[in-house]
Amino acid sequence: MSRPIETRGAAESIPAAGCLKDSTYTVCGRSITVHWEPDPGQAGRERLDLLLSPYRSAESTTSSTETVTVEGPSADSVWTVRDGAVQERFLGEDELLRQLERSIVAACARYSTTALILHAGAVERDGIALLLPAHSGSGKTTLTLALGARGWRPLTDDICPCVLLEGRVVALPNPRCVHVSDASREVLDSQSIDLEGPVAGLPGYYRPYSWGTAAPLQRIILPCYHPGISTQMVPLTMAEVAAELLLMRFEQDLLPRDVQWNTILQIARQAPGWQLLYSSLDEAFDVVEQIVREPEVTS
């Protein structure tokens, strides 16, 4: 339906001096500029900057590629976002910010030329990374963050960029705000996992205090939380891992399909996969440690 938000490559020049009405964000190597018109006392822009602070780039000028314009609010608190000829309307600043944050990250991912971007959590410890691909509601974010109790540092809770380095697929950090429910916060509190937030005063938006560093993927764990279920880990074939990653990849319009495809196949070859069914975090931690201790495969 709508024309996608345009992006430009990070390698292109970004003007150093900026217009106060503009903010530029770079995610997975792609940038989007948000132009606020008229200037709404800077409140909305400042909150969006807080939400997207790790992605903030040098300011844009009005002569640069302005791709998204925010107007409002109207008397009835409706904000309008213009993306070329397409216009979208949002009720209230919080809703505007949620949608802008999500849309900017999603659009950058869509136009990124990073080898592969997956809908997955990822954690890093001692130079190795675990990938946790899963749909919403599977407990992915909670498990990703809770693994901090065992020394794993989050790389991302939902959008994981991956690149090929020296024949190995490496997961990169993507410090997007995490979306955590009150119930999840209680679980994380019980594991002494502290989060910064709510970021920009937006309910449910938090940020870990520290992030992991880029690391080669060593294991794939498909988390599936079910209350009351006994903890099980089910080994997956390489093809099952690859099929799962295919399901979890972002469409990347500017990337040749073979690049994504080869990266997926390489992950399946280098990182054994398991499905993890669990209802207890402590048991899940033990299983994860057991999986990590499994002998490494050579592809």
Binding site: M1, S2, R3, P4, I5, V78, V81, D83, V86, E88, R89, F90, L91, E95, Q99, R102, S103, A106, A107, R110, H119, H135, S136, D158, I159, H179, L222, C224, H226, V234, T237, M238, A239, E240, A242, A243, E244, L246, L247, M248, R249, F250, E251, W261, L265, A268, R269, Q275, L277, S299
Partner: protein, 148 residues
Amino acid sequence: MDSPGAPNLVRREDVEMHLMPDGSALLYDPDRNAGYALAPLGALVWDMCDGTYTTQTLLAELEQDLVQVQGIRKDADRCLSEFARLGLLTAAPDVASTHAEGPVPDEGIFAHPINSRTSTRRQPVERPKSRSRKPETPRRSEMAPPDE
């Protein structure tokens, strides 16, 4: 035994198969942007769908060559049914193909604007609660857009 005139099994040429080092295989259907994981038997059955065999001759040959594998006929037959159901074969008797479902509609960037609360977003395929360890049946792994 095949009924008279039973067609030979022919896999679609545009469907890619990638053999993995552990013997499993991934089928990729570019028309549906979907991937299917196969166990080694599934990969073998797929490989045999080269126009040489009918359903019955394929099953008979497998049964004869792999006599030590229990239930091979049933598992291979299930594979063929799945291939046919997923529209991966050009000739698939007695099984309704779902290949003509069409592409997933493009939804654009904003999934939930206030003037369009009803999302047309295609829901992801639900994972089974307990995974069968009989992966001879191809597991559908269809591309779905990520959700918040």
